[in-house]
Amino acid sequence: MIIDVTIDIFPKKEVLNPETEAVKKTLSNLGYKNIDGLVLSKQIKLSFKNLNEEDCIYQSKLMCDQFLVNTNIQDYEISVLKKD
């Protein structure tokens, strides 16, 4: 069985992200004046084999804390996409 997991990584709210600010400003310059919030995130998709859903989530969390995410400046969300 294959289980797909998606990890979304985005800057913590308290960290001022200059890229986000620049994109927001450009959208405003393009005339989109009603944007209140904007988040630039990074997405990692993993496909696991021979693991149950609980272990997939557990391993994904370990990978995030160990390597994929710098928790000083980033938060992350893990979601299970689909099961075949």
Binding site: E14, V15, L16, N17, P18, E19, A22, F67, L68, N70, N72, I73
Partner: protein, 225 residues
């Protein structure tokens, strides 16, 4: 005195540091490939600048998981001196040997120019002992992610412990770093990470010789032990 210069794929300031240290100490530093797992008896380990592993994922993230890192951590736990410059600083924060993180410059540009950094009143450290606090050093920066970020609680600790080694001049903060921070020390003062490049102000064809003074003071201190 034995100096190791760690080389990763994408390191590009290793030769500059080699020439700087060799010309000042008259000793020949050793290049150590990042796959080495057993490095011992060095007085100083230098992690040079560059774009290790293409800065993929985050600056320094892949390098901080290289085989050599365990040896570097062992060296740190024995109180060994470590200097990380630019990408080397980013690697040291990713390994958690130094606090904080280097994020994208707030001006969204790669910055490459001379800056003046001010030596701070620090805890005892071989990297700052030779300078009176408030001494200004003219050294170049060359980075895209040099914006030092640390949360408020951790910043208070840095200030309280005297771990801020260098600051950019007030009103001349090039990259948005918290508190104008250009370099930080570990809690025991034996590890320094800094964004500016002292190895690029060592010879008369450089814009300044202040980096030469920095290495000279550091080497004097390491030799005196």
């Amino acid at each position: 005195m034995r100096v190791a210069i760690v080389v990763f794929p994408g390191s590009n300031c290793d030769r500059d540091i080699f020439e700087a240290i060799k010309s000042i100490s008259k000793k020949v530093p050793e290049f150590i490939w990042h796959k080495e797992t057993n490095i011992k008896n060095f007085d100083l380990i230098v992690i040079p600048g560059g774009f290790t592993f293409g800065d993929y994922l985050r600056c320094g993230a892949l390098a901080s998981n290289s085989p050599i890192i365990k040896s570097i951590k062992d060296h740190a736990s024995r109180g060994g001196a470590i200097l990380g410059i630019c990408n080397g600083f980013q690697i040291l924060t990713e390994t958690k040997l130094l606090p904080g993180t280097l994020i994208r410059n707030n001006v969204l540009k790669f910055l490459c120019h001379d800056v003046k950094i001010i030596v701070q009143d620090t805890l005892p450290s071989p990297f700052t002992w030779g300078f009176k606090p408030s001494t200004k050093l003219n050294v170049p920066i060359a980075h895209n992610e040099g914006n030092y970020y640390i949360n408020d609680n951790e910043l208070k600790k840095l200030i309280f412990n005297g771990q801020i080694a260098f600051k950019y001049e007030e009103n001349f903060n090039p990259n948005g770093s918290v508190e104008n921070i250009a370099g930080v020390l570990s809690e025991n003062g034996r590890i320094l990470g800094m964004m500016p490049h002292p190895e690029r102000s060592v010879f008369t064809h450089h814009n300044s010789l202040d980096g030469r003074l920095f290495f000279k003071k550091l080497i004097e201190q390491l030799l005196s032990l």
